[in-house]
Amino acid sequence: MSALSLLPARRSVPGVFVALTLTLTIGWLVVLLDGGQLFNQSTTVSLLHVAAGLGLVAVGQTLVILGGSLDLSVAYVISLSTLVAAETMNGSDGAVLPAIGLVLVVSAGVGLLNGLLVTRFRVNAFIATLGVGLLLKGYLDNGYDGPAGTTAPSLVQALGYQRVGPVPVSFLLLIAVTAAAWFALSRTRFGHHLVAVGGDPEVARLSGVRNDRVLVTAHVLCSMCAGLAGIYLASRLGSGAPRVGTEGLYDLESIAAVVIGGTALAGGRGGVIGTVGGVLLLASIDAIFNQLEVDAFFKQVIRGVIIIAAVAVYARRAMRKAA
């Protein structure tokens, strides 16, 4: 039974990777005709950096979406985390670990609040996380006009710029987090319960799953992922940035990446591997357009079209399967 219910999750993974391969191949050819080179060191590195930031958020977002929920507050959690990290470190290498710890505690607190609002107070996830996002936005707007704090140089060095060959350390962090999330989803009780809750909360409850606890956990993990993304961005930028999360559209883009990766927005179907594929797809399109020096606004138009088209393709396939 459990093997059966996991089947769609496994089968939906390749789709986005086919699209990714196609995009990269076509992109490589077009860039080549344009007289450029898509896969040189610097473009690959910057592609993976973009993917690392969005990926950390999107993996967390996958967990809540799988559970039938949603998190619109991640953008503000990211901004808050960069500030908490940079202000706690204040440029001293000795404070790196306490700062990371504090960020994780703060972001877990926000996730806990989200989770409790969604489960105990039965507030629709869209409104609950939007409201919590507004609370954080007010705090950020009121307290900060611009960059604040200084990230410890050692962390900037290690997480922000260090790499192994062409692969940045931050991308390795994403791989590690993804592996952990994949393990949690496919090999632990929490993961199976989460997918069950997302698929049909009532059936899950009647089968003895404690829905509330599972969903709260997913929300806490999601916010902690956003916190990690904040730490990464703080080490990339060298300081805390009160608007980096919203300006990067991390809330909506992370949801888009999850859905492009084959996870159903309604919950209960999908997985983190697909999400990483979705993130890489978005990052590759970005890289290709950068190489072609396409207008930034045109890029956004294309991005919108691709997001809709990708999901339409999935929907079409699902319809055919059902028929």
Partner: protein
Amino acid sequence: MQTVQPRSLPLRLPRVRPGGVLPILAILAVLLVLVGIRQPDFLAPQSLMSFLGRSAPIILLAAGQYFVIVSGEFDLSVGSLVTAQVVVAARLIDSDPARTWPVVLLLLAFGALVGLVNGLITTRLRVPSFITTLGMFLILVGAVYLWSDGAPKGGLSEEFRRFGRRAFEDVPVLGRVPYALLVLVVLAVAAVLLMRSDFGRTLVAVGDNPRTAELSGVRVWRTRTFAFILSGLAAAVAAILLGGYSGVSFQAGAGLEFGAITAVVLGGVALGGGRGAVVGAMLGALTLELLFALMNFYGVSGALRSTVQGGIILLAVAVSATRSSSR
């Protein structure tokens, strides 16, 4: 004050119909009292009229959003649509009064077209509306920047701007009645009548249970697409009023989609569809605007506004959710 005491309320009040407008009326009354204590002048007809006129765009957007939400979908594209409309209007009119009416018609057609595309993609291609309208949001913002090379061009004619900023002067009792308020009243009445018609009932039925509606012979996709078109039209009217009132900028519609959705939910309309009244949605928007006015009067700094807004929304929705589930 009743609404902030979730536990004791169900005992004292006669049963409140889920999705009814009573809770939002109570919140509105409390806010009015608070405003009255702090700034009695605000309740004078003159300033009340201009407040209602200023609130007309967001109330109309909330009504448009209501149609989509009650049918079980979302429209995240309205904010960007308002921005696009205002920028397009400025460039096409280019301060030439003769072009006012053709451009107004064009904007309405453009709004309806965006709604139609949203609706068809959502219903025919089965893309969740959250994603459809998010994509439309990215497309509209990108396209409008692209089209105007990063800075708004042209200008609105005075003829165009009068809808949003002029008023009937010297009306007995009321003083000054903004054109925007008149537009609002006409469209609000139309919206209420629409919801009482067959179409309105069908719309709610589709949101409540699309399968049942389909089996009873409703063409669900057509109904939902029409809801999206109404939302696009509402955005067009809101853009005309907003452009007139506050002028042309890329920020004209920023964040309005979340404002409208919040207002609809405050008004007792269930996300996911099938429950709630269009009057509630419009009152929700009015409440939100009144809340902002109140914060101004109490000197809450602009930056803290969103915190207060977020807190109130969470409180209101949590209270109504726990109440409706405890019955």
